[in-house]
Symmetry: C2
Subunit: 263 residues, 2 copies
């Protein structure tokens, strides 16, 4: 059980809360409702980061945001993911969770596609007051590129490190990281990462942000500098988010070798 003062970060994949195959934003309202209900019993400090799915990704691709600066395309993409965030926040609040959207476009500066600085004072204060900040993959201003797409998978480790999170969950659309037989790999460390890499395929559909390989790499980088273990699990499976929030082992754990030796 997590203490009331420790911080849990929950990433909810875009493919869980939207139909990622859709050309334009198709939200899975019932899934967001179910997730909100699973979260509503949690009493600790919580922060949520959700992916964009079919909100944002198609627009980012259409306007080639990863190739060149396009102000109009950046704004259209940002507005799309912001719309999804509003729906998530509304449903969380309707389920008794005091949640506020914190849009990366408003509080972040990137440089060459990586987060350079992020304002965190308001987030510290929200967590202190038991308000759940809801962030998301977004288009943000970029010092060298004009704008860049910053994925939820990049935001999560950035926040986990700076806010000293104690528990990190990556709720995706699969049962963790799968091997060739479709079985969940229980643990990934720098030692087995090279072997595991071959199993890791990019996400099936449009994803300008790197897919599963990107997720695992970010989590490994994180655990190299902290002793935090992350879990990648199937958030589409009812009950899993609740299990994760209770501190149960679930899906694939990603951790640094040093940590593995100690446990």
């Amino acid at each position: 059980m997590v203490s009331s003062e420790s911080l849990t970060i929950l990433k909810i994949g875009g493919s869980v809360i939207t139909d990622k195959r859709a050309d334009d934003g198709v939200v899975r309202v019932n899934e967001i409702r179910r997730i909100a209900q699973e979260i509503s019993g949690f009493k600790g400090k919580l922060m949520i980061v959700h992916g964009a799915g079919s909100f944002g990704h198609p627009q980012a691709k259409k306007f080639s945001l990863n190739e060149e600066f396009n102000a109009t395309g950046s704004i259209i993409t940002h507005l799309s993911v912001k719309e999804l965030c509003s729906m998530v926040v509304d449903i969380l609040n309707a389920n008794g969770i005091c949640a506020v959207g914190v849009h990366p476009m408003c509080c972040m500066l990137a440089d060459n596609g990586r987060i350079q600085t992020m304002f965190l004072d308001q987030i510290h204060c929200m967590l202190e007051k038991d308000i759940v900040p809801v962030l998301h993959g977004d288009v943000v201003m970029d010092h060298s590129l004009g704008t860049s797409v910053i994925s939820g998978d990049q935001i999560v480790p950035y926040l986990a490190k700076r806010l000293k999170a104690s528990l990190l969950g990556i709720g995706s659309a699969t049962a963790g990281v799968l091997d060739d037989n479709g079985s969940t790999i229980p643990i990934i460390t720098p030692t087995n990462f090279e072997n595991v890499k071959e199993y890791i395929k990019g996400s099936e559909n449009t994803d300008v942000t790197g897919g599963m390989l990107g997720k695992v790499q970010e989590m490994l980088d994180l655990s190299a500098s902290t002793h935090l273990t992350s879990y990648i699990f199937d958030a589409g499976q009812p009950g899993n988010i609740e299990h994760f929030l209770k501190g149960e082992k679930i899906g694939t754990a990603i951790t640094h070798e040093q940590y593995e030796c100690r446990s």
Copy 2:
């Protein structure tokens, strides 16, 4: 005429773009369209700050946000002004202005009702890329109070000072600051402020943020530390915003004595 490198800040009063007498948010879409058209010809660096009007103010009053911390009430109030901002941003973009909403809740921390810190890196980058940041009066996290209502009138001088704005316009619902005969007072300085005070009445309707007196006081405080002159003018009068953006004298100028002597 303002050079393309100098910064203009335009405040648009909540009573201009909403029906401030309404109990719940009633937006004046045609007024926002007209304003967007007037702005669309402007080629310089521009930042917009709009008031909340009948979005936000009734909620802030209902939940007594100026008296005690209320997480749910803060969120409901914030969502209301955010909705107004979205409408403003959408209409600006539809009129060819690359505009992005920058919500104070996402990038500001207050202390005891005053702005303590605000993230500005993203705003600098937006201005550099000719994107118009659109801010607004908002509920923000407050270090000592939990949350507090930060008016657009407090945000404007804060930004004008830190971003070194060269032109500042307060587009309100009256023809500047009026004397007892209903005539516009052409200039307010610290010297005549005490006399002028008696003419300055609070805004007619619900306003938790201080009304006209608060506006003038903030502008005077600002001009004490800079040589920037602000103009308060009637933004409900077609053409006035365009005149202001062209650098024409309009409404009431608010300036520091030192500046007046030099001109």
